[in-house]
Symmetry: none
Subunit: 217 residues, 4 copies
DNA sequence: CATGAATGAGGTTTCATTCAT
DNA sequence: CATGAATGAAACCTCATTCAT
């Protein structure tokens, strides 16, 4: 009965998976529709039947990946133990979790890079900016709790902390190739990610613990 | 004779400038040879005469831009006052200078992004990893001085500090589009760069000043 | 059983109506099987089940439309009052009726145009040339009667009169678009058809009434 | 020196000629760019370099053909003997000349048919309606002279006569295929055109000579 | 040195038609 | 009888590259 619908859904899914892989790897311009079709095992025509055009397919892939982060974030912040831990331990968990997410979702990193190079054109077209951002709310809650408890400096700026929280883990993965070469160190080696995560945590905690007056000047 | 050489040099220069603009904007796949030729005012055939192929031209543009950072770094670290300042002020200057460089060289940011997406393929082909890295030497000198003077914690890891120094400023520019949307703030507005620079400085100094035991745990 | 037959007949009919509309509008090459299926509300597969191919469907549409003219002609010439009127009034009626038919059957006009552009290829394939032509017989009868009564010139050529009878009304509709533009007059405005019909009648009657010697030369 | 420009012009010309042939034969939808390229002997890419798109090429072909009629018309009406002949002989010449033009320019007939089926879409896009129409002016001059001389009825309507002048010759060629079959006569046989021209002349002169009261009614 | 026309491979997209249920 | 997914050939168009002058 619904055999056909099921089959259709499977084809659609295969195309999306192939497209995610190819687009993440080569970007919108570098990707070839033929290649996506071949990898997905579907007929090229189906891509147009389901998604209309190469660019539209790209947008849907982008959206799917972006929503995956949202899902993950929601899971993270909905966890019940949220407010009960030590704030510093909680912040450390958050950073480690973000590193883990990025390691396990290389497509996310690459798609966001492509999208920044395309000046967020498709991001805007999909109105992805409006997707709620749980990570930001989680950080805000932690900052408030930490300030209340006197463990974080009172003047810590949420936006600046958020940018650091985004920048350091993301950049580790996004610029891993040029960075490895400049530092003459293989950053994809075992233990590198963990070491980096701990350093970032140290840095953020040091900043949040500081008394707000810069020592010098 | 010299007329020809001069003319030839000018044409070459025009092509390189046009190529830098187009490649930075659209990447290797998105760029069109016709477009570069049109923008440079030169005949398309000249691109092949001088540079052999589109990809070769891309590599030379990448190298030029990358060397520009090296020049700037050399200038920075060769400056005589280098070792005489307060180390914390010196570090702050370094961070501010890097923000300034990135703001003034958007092509550098974008080309490095493309190159990371291309997994440093052309970077390797040009052997750009071997280009000496003055920024790294400068930081190392500062760290040594700071540790000697007891102003920086003794166990601060050079690589980790360097990664932060690269990541925060770079990411501010590289991810400005998606970040602006997620934070619902226009990061290209006046004062944003300066505010970010100061926050990064605070964070790095707080980390370097810490006593190395993480407060908790 | 009969339910199925009825349903099947209805589907067939819907397809034919949709096909007539689309083929008349866009021709054989311009028409899309998908579009016909969508407009008919039937599944595309049914078109092939019932008609074999796009081209075959086109032929059947052509035939249906062409037979519609035949039906109309038969009705016209079979009318009992046929031979009893004044021949001139009868000719005028014929012209007016033909104008009316063409106005009410735009698909006929367009399909005949496509068919002429296709050099009557499908017309031949359907052997539509053999369809008896009542209009011609009607005209012949009128001419004979008119000549007998001395109201029409004796040397009037049946074929030439027939061609005029076909050409003037048909051309008014078939070339209405370019003609409107060249004459800077909107020929689809109210009253234009009637005025044209009367002029054509005048012209034909003047010709038939003439004494056969061209005045000059 | 200008060898290249000359060669380029030749290629352009070849493409236009091939396109005229193919478009006239098959219309915009039926024509294949590959076919035009092959027939012209040019590389397919050149069609796009010179004309931008298939549709744009179609428009330019349409314009060329349409201007050809204008040229011919201008030549016709500029001929010095214009006003001096007998008006009836002059009208006869006009009709015969139009028949001749249509016979010698089958592309013109077909392109106008396509264009009418396309509802003058490209005709409008090229603003061809604005092209001056010498034939109309010629007819107007003849009618005025004829009325002045008392040889043509005073109430003859210019537009109606013009429509007949356009319709009868045009329709002879445009509908020659279906007409031949309906009449079971090969209208492309020798002498048919001439016979038709004379009949049309007779009819128009009879109409113009009539005293304006329709005999009957 | 410089030009602009030309090329052919390959890109995205469309379409009539068939398969499987 | 009817459906909707699937197919492969071919359509329009683009691009990096080369030829002829």
């Amino acid at each position: 009965m619904d055999r056909q619908a099921e089959r259709s859904g499977r084809t659609r899914q295969h195309i999306l998976e192939a497209a995610e892989q190819i687009f993440a790897e080569k970007g919108l311009d570098g990707a070839r529709v033929d290649e996506i079709a071949a990898l997905s095992g579907a007929n090229k025509r189906m891509i147009y039947a389901y998604f209309g055009s190469k660019e539209e397919l790209y947008r849907i892939v982008l959206e799917r990946i972006y929503r995956r982060l949202s899902e993950w974030e929601r899971f993270l912040t909905d966890s019940p133990e949220g407010g009960q831990q030590d704030v510093r331990a909680a912040l450390a968990s958050l950073v480690r979790a973000y590193f883990t997410f990025l390691r396990e979702n290389p497509s996310y990193v690459r798609m966001l890079m492509w999208e920044n190079l395309y000046e967020a054109r498709h991001f805007d077209a999909m109105e992805l900016g409006k997707v709620r951002d749980p990570l930001r709310r989680a950080l805000r809650a932690l900052l408030e709790q930490g300030k209340r408890e006197g463990r974080f400096r009172a003047d810590a700026d949420e936006q600046q902390v958020l940018m650091t929280l985004f920048a350091c883990p993301f950049n580790f993965f996004s610029n891993i190739h040029t960075m490895s070469r400049v530092m003459q160190t293989d950053l994809s080696a075992d233990g590198m990610i963990e070491a980096r995560a701990e350093a970032v945590i140290d840095m953020m905690l040091a900043y949040l613990a500081a008394d707000g007056k810069r020592a010098l000047q």
